[in-house]
């Protein structure tokens, strides 16, 4: 049979394709059937957080940081509760990473704070001697791209029914609404309001001034994202 296939390229290719496609069908289809549903308390990202997430991706933080806490005592001691599938329901793309040159960040919002990030991102070794993380100085001068974050919100709301502007049940029984703006101008204004809350806890005067002048440096957005990781 194989020798026959070797003389008939079309059927050869077909057989190869069936052999390789088979595994995909069996492994991937069933898990898609039970689509990942959000956990109670899991909310979509706000405009500023999403912008921070895009900055995280743009700088490939995921090259060094995972966002997946495995169910081991040592990991839950270090990072908090192990990850649950539903917590990732709004993560497009997922950011589990595959290398931990730096620590996991899945719940970093629980144990690091705005002012610490402000110092750390500018010069990691100044707060953590021996750190090999690069200094992310340009985040303090580049402006965050709020419009693209807004475009992403619109996209996920329109194509994947991500629940913006709808009450989302929280663990304590209350509910929460994550706002998505009606226009670019409104999105910018909303993001600026979020940014003001963050800069209130920051020290760098030039960042404070920038926000006061209606600009949002990337560092503010990425801190908003870090703080949202819980």
């Amino acid at each position: 049979m194989f020798h026959w296939l070797e003389k008939h390229p079309f059927f050869f290719a077909l057989s190869v394709f069936v052999a390789i496609a088979f595994a995909g069908l069996v492994e991937i289809i069933p898990s898609f059937a039970q689509a990942s549903r959000p956990l109670v308390g899991t909310t979509p990202y706000s405009t500023l957080e999403l912008s921070g997430r895009q900055i995280y991706i743009k700088n490939s933080c995921n090259a060094c940081h995972s966002q997946l806490i495995r169910p081991f005592k040592s990991e839950t001691d270090r990072y908090g509760h192990y990850s649950l599938s539903g917590e990732y329901a709004y993560d497009r793309p997922f950011l589990w990473g595959s290398k931990r040159t730096g620590p996991d960040l899945m719940r970093v919002g629980n144990y690091r704070t705005t002012d610490w990030h402000e110092n750390h991102m500018k010069d990691p070794a100044s707060v953590v001697p021996g750190s090999i993380m690069p200094k992310y100085t340009w985040l303090y001068t580049n402006e965050a791209d709020i419009e693209t974050a807004y475009a992403e919100q619109l996209t996920v709301a329109q194509f994947f029914s991500v629940p913006y502007n709808t009450p989302i049940p929280m663990k304590d029984g209350s509910s929460k609404v994550i706002k998505m703006a009606d226009s670019i101008a409104e999105a910018n204004a909303d993001a600026l309001d979020e940014a003001k809350v963050i800069v209130a806890d920051m020290k760098d005067q030039s960042i404070k001034d920038a926000v006061a002048n209606g600009k949002i440096p990337e560092i503010v957005a990425i801190i908003a994202y870090m703080n949202s990781l819980k």
């Binding site: 003389k7 050869f12 492994e27 991937i28 991706i57 595959s98 992310y136």
Partner: protein, 498 residues
């Protein structure tokens, strides 16, 4: 075209791809060396000054390293050999058909232009974050076109073939083509964000190249690692096997040890490989049974992988004097050995309890590089060494340079994987360690600073490998003007100058 005389093969497309493989290979490895030194000495993140730090820091450069070596260096070499081996084992010349030639040229030039776009876009930070599939949708489309052109070339050469049955190498090229086509399509399902409209009616909001993945969270991870695992398989394994199945018997003049073994290894590999992707997601939030499937099939995978390597080593049975005297054959024999090493290491790391230690650590990076440096790199180098005298009709410029290169690069690989092996196991165990009180024994930074010596050793190893690669380029460059050779000198062992 002369129907009766010997076929005149046309290597012009192959030559273009060889040039590109050398060029991008050097850049990709240079970037690898840079990021390796950055991990040992983070001050180097600003090696071109603070102003350019955004473009020279580790995290911007890392995807540039992986993508340029994978898609620039390895794929170029795969295609260089395709346009060489394909003609010869199918007995068709590219010169016979203007269409085939046009396809080949278009294939190269569209690829070349896209590669430049990829480099630029990665430096600018246009990425979707998915490992080995970082590209945004416009580049995904370009890749699709490039892939279809390669498909057309395969269909063309196979269609016109004079050799009725397909040689083993062709099986592997076809498998590479099909698998990557499927993986690429499914892993890049994404929606460009400019398609959305705001309630106020604004359209084309934000950056035009940005997109959102069709899948979310765990599903996204599943598709990505189904892709990631098999992209490794079908870029770093099958086309490289295609190469060695041609170049080793050709260079040594030996017949393949066993047809049956090659048959079983091929179909075994095809069937088993795709199932093993779950080993990238052990202890994650994908269902337990799928993870177990990944582990089990990884173990099974040792055999079809080793089958090809054993077949190659047995092909050299009784030919030790060739191994000893030809650096070209040395590359291939040691390459097969590293292939065996990494295809045993991978399955061992795929055992759940071992992965608990190994995952997220440098041990994985070590595994990666004994595969890519010791296996992929060595076979590609051997292939280009073998093709050059035939393409340029000149002898290889220097055997002793080649020997020196071989030993320098071997030392480089050994330093690389031993240091990463130790670094990985060290880090994995330190993360898990509890002290006598039941508290974590180490803060994270303790597990970073201990690795400094290993990162330095790795960087030295990588630098040696790069130096060897530069010697290789020099040797090939000098070959283009070395002593001319006659057809009959090119039967088997490649002619080499002193």
């Amino acid at each position: 075209m002369n129907k009766n005389g010997p076929l005149e093969y046309d290597y012009s497309v192959s030559k273009l791809f060889i040039m590109n493989a050398l060029f991008v290979g050097a850049i990709g490895m240079l970037v690898g060396v840079i990021i390796a030194w950055q991990m040992a000495y983070p001050g180097l993140n600003t090696f071109l000054g603070d102003g350019l730090a955004e473009y020279t820091n580790f995290s911007r450069l890392r995807p540039l390293h992986t993508d340029s070596v994978i898609y620039g260096f390895v794929l170029s070499a795969v295609w260089a050999t395709w346009y060489y081996v394909g003609q010869r084992v199918l007995k068709v010349s590219m010169a016979e058909s203007k269409t085939l030639m046009l396809i080949g040229k278009l294939h190269f030039w569209i690829y070349f232009v896209s590669a430049s776009l990829i480099v630029t876009s990665l430096l600018l930070g246009w990425t979707t974050s998915k490992e080995y599939a970082e590209f945004e949708w416009p580049i995904d489309l370009a890749i699709t076109v490039i892939w279809l052109l390669w498909g057309a070339s395969i269909a063309g050469l196979v269609g016109f073939r004079r050799e009725k049955s397909l040689y083993i190498s062709i099986w592997y090229y076809i498998a590479t083509f099909l698998a990557i086509a499927m993986l690429h399509l499914f892993n890049n399902m994404e929606i460009p964000t400019i398609l959305a409209t705001s309630p106020a009616g604004e359209t084309m909001v934000g950056a035009w190249w940005h997109s959102v993945s069709m899948y979310a969270g765990t599903n996204d991870a599943l598709v990505q690692w189904w892709f990631g695992h098999n992209a490794v398989a079908f870029v770093f394994t099958t086309p490289i096997i295609a190469m060695i199945y041609y170049f080793l018997p050709k260079e040594s003049g030996q017949a393949i040890y066993s047809y049956k073994l090659s048959l079983l290894s091929f179909w075994g590999l095809m069937f088993v490989y795709l199932w093993a992707g779950g080993h990238h997601l052990l202890y994650s939030t994908v269902p337990d049974w799928m993870q177990t499937m990944g582990s089990v099939f990884s173990i099974v995978l040792i055999l079809p992988s080793w089958g090809s390597a054993i077949n190659m080593l047995l092909t050299m049975k009784g030919e030790w004097q060739q191994v000893a005297s030809s650096p070209l054959i040395k590359f291939m024999v040691l390459g097969s050995t590293f292939y065996m090493f990494s295809t045993l290491e991978g399955p061992i790391q795929a055992i759940k309890s071992v992965n608990a230690i190994a995952h997220f650590t440098d041990w994985i990076v070590g595994h990666v590089h004994d595969g890519v440096l010791g296996w992929v790199g060595f076979i590609v180098i051997a292939a280009i060494y073998h093709m050059s005298p035939r393409i340029f009709r000149r002898e290889i410029y220097s055997r002793s340079l080649m020997n020196t290169q071989f030993w320098i690069q071997t030392l480089g690989v050994v330093l690389y994987f031993t240091s990463m092996w130790i670094a990985g196991i060290t880090q994995g165990m330190m993360w898990r360690a509890h002290d006598e009180f039941g508290n974590l024994a180490y803060s994270f930074i303790d597990t970073v600073t201990v690795l400094h010596p290993y990162y330095t050793i790795r960087a030295v190893g990588g630098t040696l490998y790069l130096i060897g690669f530069l010697m290789f380029i020099y040797n090939i460059y000098k070959t283009t003007s070395a002593r001319r050779v006659e057809e009959d000198e090119l039967q088997n062992a490649s002619p080499m100058g002193a």
